[in-house]
């Protein structure tokens, strides 16, 4: 019994599914952001699994490209978390809540 690409992809799919469920069904804006972070993590696992197992690499596209892509995903995730949490704090100052069901400033 050895570990193959399919094992990693299945784990990644399950974590991504949990991230979708968290992001769609939580009321607190910070909890929704946690779901997004879970999804980004699952994507990183997929990149690294393909980088290790895929047979389709040539001289021009070395497997290290998967690692570089994960570095960029980490960068964008950090920037996104900083701005989104700043927005959560800003909304809290105006409304004293981060409950997404009660943030209805733009509802007509």
């Amino acid at each position: 019994m050895s570990v193959t690409l399919a094992h990693y992809l299945a784990v990644s799919g399950v974590v991504f599914g949990i991230g979708i469920a968290v992001a769609l069904s939580k009321r607190n804006a910070i909890a929704v952001l946690m779901g997004v972070e879970l999804m980004l993590n699952a994507v990183n696992l997929t990149f690294l699994a393909f980088s290790r197992f895929s047979a389709a690499f040539s001289e021009n596209s070395a497997p290290i490209a998967g690692h570089v892509f994960v570095v960029f995903v980490l960068t964008v995730a950090a920037a996104e978390a900083a701005v989104a949490l700043a927005m959560a704090v800003l909304v809290y100052r105006r409304r004293e809540t981060v409950d997404l069901d009660r943030i209805n400033l733009m509802r007509w």
Binding site: S2, V3, T4, L5, A6, H7, L9, A10, V11, G13, V14, V15, F16, G17, I18, G19, I20, A21, V22, A23, L24, S25, K26, R27, N28, I30, A31, L33, M34, E37, L38, N41, N44, L48, R52, F53, S54, I64, A65, H67, V68, V70, V71, F72, L74, T75, V76, A77, A78, A81, A82, V83, A86, M87, V89, L90, Y92, E96, T97, D99
Partner: protein, 171 residues
């Protein structure tokens, strides 16, 4: 044939990762959910190690388990009057259904498709002695434009976050 350590590590770490990710959803306390999320990040870093991605694993521990979780705890603490019960909204049923459907579809595709993958000894030939040198020269040679754009993105996110939460000065 891979060593039993890798196989054992994979099952153990994926169990920890999936279980703590589930705990993020099920926990009744927002701070407990943040702690479960940190555990999930650490398990994911261990999975990266089993994929011979040492640099990414360390970066995962530093950035996700360190910096982003501190940001999340800060955000929870800075919103003291908001509810901390990690409650679900009205969309919990569609959310869980979509998540389960996605996990099922991806899991089915992952197992059903015959991936053109390396197995056995060929995978061990993919072992990096170190990934840092490769990532460094890849970042500064073929991906240097993306690298510079990422630095501009980080700068604008930094400035944007400061501008957003700055207190209004009295005129």
């Amino acid at each position: 044939m891979e060593s039993t350590g890798i196989v054992l590590g994979f099952w153990l770490l994926s169990g920890v990762t999936v279980a703590s990710a589930l705990l993020v959803f099920l926990s009744r306390n927002l701070l407990h959910a943040v702690l479960a999320l940190v555990l999930s990040f650490l398990g994911m870093a261990g999975l990266f190690v089993t994929l011979s991605a040492d640099f990414i694993a360390v970066a995962q521990v530093l950035i996700y388990a360190g910096a982003i979780s501190v940001l999340l705890v800060f955000a929870v603490m800075l919103t003291p009057l908001a509810s901390r019960d990690n409650a679900n909204s009205l969309f919990v049923l569609p959310g869980v259904l979509i998540g389960a459907a996605f996990a099922g579809i991806v899991g089915f595709v992952a197992i059903d498709v015959d991936w053109p993958e390396l197995t056995g000894k060929a995978v061990l030939g993919r072992d990096f002695t170190t990934t840092v040198q490769g990532i460094g020269s890849a970042l500064l040679d073929p991906y240097v434009l993306a690298f510079e754009i990422a630095s501009v993105l980080l700068l604008s996110a930094l400035v944007g976050a400061i501008v957003l939460v700055r207190e209004d000065e009295p005129a």
